[in-house]
Symmetry: C2
Amino acid sequence: MRIVILGGAGMLGRKLVERLAAIGSLGGRPITGVVLHDVVEPALISAPFPVSAATGDLADPGVAEAAIAGRPELIFHLAAIVSGEAEADFDKGYRVNLHGTLKLFEAIRHAGITPRLVFSSSIGVFRGPFPETITDDFHTVPQTSYGTQKAIDELLLTDYSRRGFFDGVGIRLPTICVRPGKPNKAATGFFSNIIREPLAGHAAVLPVGDEVGMWHASPRAAVGFLIHAASLASGLIGPRRNITMPGVSCTVGDQIAALRAIAGDAVVARIRREPDPTIQRIVSGAAWKFTPKRALDLGFTADRDFAGIIEAHIADELGGRIMA
Amino acid sequence: MRIVILGGAGMLGRKLVERLAAIGSLGGRPITGVVLHDVVEPALISAPFPVSAATGDLADPGVAEAAIAGRPELIFHLAAIVSGEAEADFDKGYRVNLHGTLKLFEAIRHAGITPRLVFSSSIGVFRGPFPETITDDFHTVPQTSYGTQKAIDELLLTDYSRRGFFDGVGIRLPTICVRPGKPNKAATGFFSNIIREPLAGHAAVLPVGDEVGMWHASPRAAVGFLIHAASLASGLIGPRRNITMPGVSCTVGDQIAALRAIAGDAVVARIRREPDPTIQRIVSGAAWKFTPKRALDLGFTADRDFAGIIEAHIADELGGRIMA
Ligand SMILES: NC(=O)c1ccc[n+]([C@@H]2O[C@H](COP(=O)([O-])OP(=O)(O)OC[C@H]3O[C@@H](n4cnc5c(N)ncnc54)[C@H](O)[C@@H]3O)[C@@H](O)[C@H]2O)c1
Ligand SMILES: NC(=O)c1ccc[n+]([C@@H]2O[C@H](COP(=O)([O-])OP(=O)(O)OC[C@H]3O[C@@H](n4cnc5c(N)ncnc54)[C@H](O)[C@@H]3O)[C@@H](O)[C@H]2O)c1
């Protein structure tokens, strides 16, 4: 099976290719090669199959065509301008997240291939007022440009799939926490910073109140979703091709309590409160309580709880060691 | 108040400008001019204000800019490729309904005007399986390219409005019935044909079964929605800027029964049954039972019942006379 990962230099792209290297096959079919495509040069890894890199801006003419020239049977479309940057730079967000995606979909259509396409959507497609819990048929009326672009991509994915141009699955990812590495421009970055930085002995800024809630998944769980989506039978998915992923629902206060229980007061004391009205506006009122029935029925599995998310981070990123 | 009607040569565009001519003002402000824009030459009418025509393909470069060069305070965006044609011609539908709309929105944004923009969306944004009745927070997962394009336009309208680029309201129109004049390429055309043609003494083809249901509004009611949307206070609409319009819910069987009661058996006998699987596929499973609470709360008003819709047609189009 030939695979292309768009956004392959990103956090999830890197973790995904590592997991693919570890498992070597998907849905019983051996992986014969992975192309990592990104606007920045992706780092290569060693794997039981060839891994190659390609660079280019997906929104530029010809780039999408080149990225899929190897006629992949499976495409992960993870390339995106994330929430904070798409809000700050209106044109850039639309250029990459809407037009880049449209260029990719058109390139696939005109190449006459019909790959499984796994698209990383986001719970940012939802915005309140919400019912007590958000079910699978709740409307997608975002209040950010990022959420708007993801919701548009979902609609395109559904229509292109219905037309038979490819076999798409959109997975609405929870906020990924604990995000490893450096902070990116996602407005939701602090949910990770307040766990990752204190565990590594550094200070972290908390720009919102303790009452702010979020729907979380570990990078480990998110990669699990991507892999599971890649091999789901198309008939099981049906015509509604975008699915809210399961997650862990908790407030910032709950996150801090879990951190305290695992790592102690000294670690928690590294969190500094500095309210930021813009971030508060974006994330308060975000969707954080779901009943993701379809995903659970289809076999997607979430982290156990927020402590489980912290433990996954300590195991996967810190070699089991914390700076107490 | 300067007004531009895009799609001004279309059925609703013509009816709208006639109504504007009759009322002369909107929300207490006198209308000072109306520009009818369309890809085909719009017919001019006499009115208490200047009415001018402009032609061009909204998806062509520079056309949207030219259409709004008069810096309108109110724009009705009715230009579209309708459902049947957008399904038959994938590229044309996306070109006009997605990229044409995007070009219009960008032109407004860059012109630095912030008009009220009334957009004619459609209940085609919905697709089953449905609950017993469709409420205002049901998800928009279309199963036609037309519905997809309208749902995307709705999302863009919400985001551009949130950003303050214009003050948008999307109204999800029911199927307009009885549509006057010649049949267009909408897959839903037969809902009108089976009433209009028999009343005028002609045969009509019914391509679907009696059990097929639809959500209807007369042209009179639809123009009422457009006018009401034009003068609604922005603060009343709130951040969810697309609103399902009220309508009349009935089956083809109910329509025929109403026609029989008003016009008699001889008129009904002009309906010929010729099943068409494509049309049956598009319209059966369409959304036809709604609880349009928001619209009703905002003061939008529907036709009384299907008999009322037939009576409106006889009064508005046939001068009160039917070919019994
Ligand atoms: N991390 C989260 O919390 C989260 C939550 C929901 C959805 N998602 C989605 O998951 C995907 C991956 O997220 P991530 O956390 O790895 O983000 P990331 O920012 O680490 O990765 C995105 C990658 O896309 C690349 N990219 C940006 N513009 C591009 C362009 N024009 N052409 C080609 N590549 C381009 C970036 O260089 C980057 O490597 C994204 O689509 C994101 O929207 C992430
Ligand atoms: N009639 C219905 O049952 C119904 C139901 C729901 C929504 N709507 C929507 O209401 C609007 C008006 O509907 P209508 O029944 O008057 O349709 P119509 O086809 O009579 O009018 C649409 C007009 O748009 C024009 N147009 C098409 N492509 C164009 C382009 N590239 N540039 C400029 N103009 C272009 C057409 O020439 C036409 O005059 C449409 O947006 C339609 O999608 C209609």
